[in-house]
């Protein structure tokens, strides 16, 4: 018993520490490469320089300001986009007609690069917040659409048949069978969306922005401030980690019944 609990403790330690192993090794290698002059620090800043830039922007509060602005845009876009994606995914997933009508169109729109779309977006929505949020909506809707669709399709048809023959339909069928059955796939979609949310924001924030993390990154790039560029990349990576943790949290919460999502070995 005591061995088992020891093993558990060491597992927990490994669980929280190991995910950072690869990033830390990468950063050490990078610092070494710059320190030993294998890479010129003129073109690739050392981690310490990036930390310094980070410190500078943190001390001035600038970074929080940019993050805050971006976060608002991201959140609003995600809520709208996620909602649309979910709704369309449900329509396509639940009705054969819906699929025929919608799926092709959605797949086509999904494939249009935001970068190419920017001129049209400006035409339609101007250069203010609406345009930026529209792009985030566009970016976040599709992963949730596709995974909702896929999740619904892959619900055990025997269970659907059972539920229908037990008199379930409409909302009860949705909450009792469809949503939980598709949930693990929808959450994968959420993971994507949370990532794409930041990705599209960088394009969105090239549209006449003077705040936001995408602005910070592109502005720095334009002025060849590599330390800030790399800082922004690190920030994005951390935001990705955060989004991932959020998705994991939801998975643990909503998929408790699912053997694959229960903690432990």
């Amino acid at each position: 018993m005591s061995i088992a609990s020891q093993r558990l403790a060491s597992n927990r330690w490994a669980d929280s520490a190991l995910p950072w192993a690869v990033p830390i090794v990468l950063i050490l290698l990078w610092q070494l490469a710059v320190s030993f002059g294998w890479i010129s620090s003129r073109i690739m800043p050392a981690p310490l320089a990036v930390i310094e830039a980070g410190w500078r922007l943190t001390a001035s509060g600038e970074i929080f300001y940019h993050l805050g602005v971006s976060f608002q845009r991201a959140a609003l876009g995600f809520v709208i986009g996620g909602g649309i994606g979910l709704a369309l995914g449900l329509i396509s997933g639940l009705s054969h007609w819906g699929e025929r009508l919608l799926d092709s169109t959605v797949q086509m729109i999904r494939n249009i690069p935001h970068l190419a779309l920017v001129p049209l977006v400006i035409l339609w929505f101007g250069i203010d917040e609406t345009a930026k949020i529209f792009l985030v909506v566009l970016g976040t809707a599709f992963p949730i659409y596709l995974n909702t669709f896929h999740g619904i399709r892959n619900i055990d048809s025997n269970l659907m048949e059972m539920a229908r023959s037990y008199g379930l339909s409409g909302w009860p069928l949705f909450t009792s069978v469809i949503l939980p059955g598709a949930m693990s796939s929808i959450l994968v979609g959420v993971r994507y969306s949370l990532g794409l949310m930041w990705l599209t924001l960088i394009v969105a924030e090239t549209i006449s922005a003077s705040e936001g993390i995408g602005y910070l990154a592109m502005n720095a790039r334009e002025f060849l401030q590599t330390d800030v560029v790399v800082l922004a990349i690190v920030l994005y990576a951390l935001l990705g980690k955060l989004a991932d943790e959020a998705a994991r949290f939801l998975e643990r919460r909503w998929l408790r019944w699912h053997p694959a999502y229960v903690k432990g070995d």
Partner: protein
């Protein structure tokens, strides 16, 4: 259909099954009158049902036996409206539209929703304050201690009993049971047989029971039907008074005849 009559029974299972009289049936509002004429079902080339003619009175208890793969489940699925027949007619109470009839099918596999606890699985599709009723049925199938457990943590026989409880709680006009007791030990089996019989006597619904246990068929049913090569090979009325003695000579005699037919002797 309300569950109210169910609540009146407070006597334990065994006595109740023994004491409740055959007359209980006549007082109830009765089940569905079912009429099949020349029903044919094909799966591609394979003609599983080759013209089934069958008339079932309101409130009759029918047992269906037959070799594995002879089409018993297919027949139940047709009656439940889950598959379409290729020829012939099906009607319930004179209507060709079976969808409007109140039917519940207990599937051959348990089809429990893995994301719902046992009690929520039983309450599936019920409205109002179903919890107390669900707990009572759960007690009758001997699983009151498993109410809040995920289905994945049940034994095979326990899963089957939960599925049975889920079918019984609805008390439909037509109850279709596809091998409901196949995974149960002798004692639990007898208890479940008594439970089914008692509920049937109280509510007078029509029952179609598919079973491989010929003794069970004769013990419970008003009529035993043998399916053979896609047709009705034997249609044997069991005109014995209830409660029937488990090993009485009358029962054994009929059992022997049916078994002979099933064994192809």
């Amino acid at each position: 259909m309300s569950f109210s009559t169910y609540t009146e029974t407070t006597t334990p299972v065994k006595e109740s099954a023994a004491s409740s009289a055959r007359t209980a049936l006549s007082s109830s509002k009765g089940g569905t009158h079912l009429h099949l004429k020349g029903v044919v079902k094909k799966f591609g080339e394979l003609e599983v049902l080759k013209g089934i003619d069958l008339e079932i009175e309101k409130g009759q208890f029918i047992a269906i036996v037959g070799r594995s793969g002879c089409g018993k489940s297919t027949l139940l699925r047709l009656i439940a409206g889950l598959d379409r027949h290729n020829a012939g007619t099906l009607s319930a109470d004179g209507h060709a539209d079976l969808a409007s009839t109140d039917i519940r099918l207990m599937f051959q596999d348990d089809r429990l929703l893995p994301w719902k606890s046992v009690i929520d699985n039983i309450g599936l599709g019920l409205k109002g304050d179903w919890k107390p009723r669900a707990l009572r049925v759960l007690e009758e199938v001997g699983l009151s201690d498993k109410a809040d457990v995920w289905p994945a943590k049940l034994s095979g026989g326990q899963r089957q009993r939960v599925a049975l409880a889920r079918a019984l709680i609805h008390q439909p006009q037509l109850l279709l049971l596809d091998e409901p007791l196949g995974a149960l030990d002798a004692l639990t089996r007898i208890e479940m047989q008594r439970l089914i019989e008692r509920l049937w006597q109280q509510h007078g619904f029509t029952v179609l029971l598919v079973t491989h246990d010929v003794q069970e068929a004769v013990q419970l049913a008003d009529r035993v039907i043998v399916l053979e090569q896609g047709q009705i090979g034997m249609d044997k009325a069991v005109d014995l008074a209830r409660p029937r003695e488990q090993a009485s000579a009358d029962v054994s005699a009929i059992e022997g005849k049916v078994l002979k037919r099933v064994l192809g002797q």
